[in-house]
Symmetry: C2
Subunit: 322 residues, 2 copies
């Protein structure tokens, strides 16, 4: 939970006035978002989210993120949309921070996703990939396979404090991934962080996707690999093949995966597992005692990685055709 930047009322009133949405009626900091400060804003025109971008987000990336959200919304894909002020500007400054006013998306995330949710997720992910295909900006994945060794080096000497043998395990896994990583696969813009808390539902239907602040250009099926890790394991870390099947079948209802995308999926799933194992390990070892945000347990992703290492064939993800 995080309100890193407190915005004074007078400053906010003048900020909101410039959007032509009527009077500011209320604002409350919300305890969501690890990276940024978010407020729920009520105006005469309805509710909005105000986001102040904190240090972990690069200012230079914001035109890409905001542009992407606007592009998606214009394409009919449901997600929060940055509002332009009366001069047509999306990216503003408030209380010394880059800031954007963003449309309020109704819906809420599902704490215990079921098969129907995984199936809807698959379809929505494929729709996202298609809707991104004609967006004309790009952003390198700063957490891609080539950045993992550098990230690992930054905490390598302390890694075994998380789990005995972790340092060697990561070292060997990174070597394997560097040597075997798939490159000749369909690529484009991916969400790259599509955990259940970034997918809002109303009833059985997805009302929209949120939090595009890791979006980047990479292999499309890597996005699926992230979701397999985030959606298809049970709280005891056992893999639920039915959820994986629902996810993959849902995706393929909208965009058919190529044979090579299917055959390399176990490798990409290992990659996605190590990406979160690395960042969670780093956050775990560098946690601040008085932080608002409790770091997530890295060992969850160690167990997921081990599962994917054991996978010999994509059929183990519930598909008939490897």
């Amino acid at each position: 939970m995080a309100v890193y930047t407190e915005v004074p009322d007078v400053e906010l009133q003048s900020f909101i006035t410039s959007y032509g949405l009527g009077q500011l009626l209320s604002y409350k900091g919300i305890a969501e978002g690890v990276e940024n400060t978010n407020y729920i804003i009520h105006t005469d025109s309805g509710p909005f989210i105000l986001t102040l971008y904190e240090k972990r987000v690069k200012k230079g990336d914001l035109p890409f993120f905001l542009g992407l959200m606007e592009h998606l919304a214009k394409s009919g894909f449901s997600c929060p949309t940055p509002v332009r002020d009366q001069s047509g500007v999306m990216l503003r400054e408030l209380s010394g921070r880059p800031a954007a006013l963003i449309s309020f998306l109704e819906g809420f995330w599902v704490r215990r996703p079921q098969l129907n949710h995984c199936s809807a997720l698959g379809r929505s992910l494929a729709e996202l990939h298609l809707a991104c295909s004609n967006f004309n900006m790009s952003r390198k994945n700063s957490l891609s396979v080539t950045s993992w060794p550098g990230l690992f080096e930054s905490f390598r000497s302390e890694a075994d404090n998380i789990a005995p043998g972790l340092s060697n395990l990561i070292q060997e896994e990174l070597e394997h991934l560097q040597q075997n990583w798939a490159t000749d696969l369909p690529n484009g813009i991916i969400h790259a962080d599509l955990f259940p808390d970034n997918v809002f539902f109303l009833g059985d239907k997805i009302s929209g996707l949120i939090d595009f602040y890791f979006a980047c250009n990479d292999l499309l099926s890597y996005d699926i690999a992230v979701c397999l890790n985030a959606w298809c394991f049970e709280p005891d870390n056992s893999f639920n093949i039915s959820k994986a099947r629902a996810l993959l079948n849902g995706y393929q209802q909208v965009r058919k995966l190529k044979k090579v995308e299917l055959s390399t999926l176990p490798l990409l799933a290992r990659g996605a597992a190590i990406r979160f194992l690395l960042t969670r390990s780093y956050d775990w070892l560098n946690k601040e005692m008085d932080a608002f945000v409790k770091p997530k347990d890295p060992s969850e992703y160690l167990r997921k990685l081990r599962f994917h290492q054991s996978v010999k064939d994509v059929r183990e993800y519930g598909l008939g055709d490897g």
Copy 2:
């Protein structure tokens, strides 16, 4: 900032259904409220606040607090109102906590109150006192003059860690207050915690008062004394006599203070200062390293106490008649 209790979506959906307010559309934990967990809830019928009462609030006091809010709203005094479910119940349970759904009050608190705000506050405080007068429940002030010595004992040995000599200063002040405390003054239900963040404005007008979770029976003018401390000092802790005059005159536009209430106001202001000096000192010395809520600096109230100790006459609060 505080979301102490995470509410699962399925549980919340069934909870909201029992109010007959339509579908749950969204819910977000908000970073306000030191004592309780609060969510902004959107339903088909509009926005609401969901409050889960945490350990610091006594469950037995909740019927008083919720009853008072309902009484005030029915009397035309603007404040959040508990919503009754379809069986007529206000106080429910959710995720193992006492819980209430409460109407959403538009408006926001003023970070730097000016004279007009102090004047409006005074009028609203007097209106509150009048509106409470025919409420048929009561609650003892658990932080009144008789409870201060016990609270002091709980941290006395560490008090000088906050400021050298603090222990002696509090000891002498408590003796003075015990010996001279006013008793024969108009009493009734007071808010007892009317800091600027509990008073919502829309433009120059108060849209309502919030956070009645310290409300209790005590001297009415003690509520004014709390406000003198909370509203009439500048950020450098200098006393602003014009703000005090605006507050007192505003109050007297609605309810004329008796001569004895005026003459004892400096004493009550010392009492209000020590009440917050004591609780802030306790919280400061007992702060948890990983707490969501940063404890407030007690020394602010030490300086306020010293000011009131120097006051010889209520005219120093801006009134012509001592």
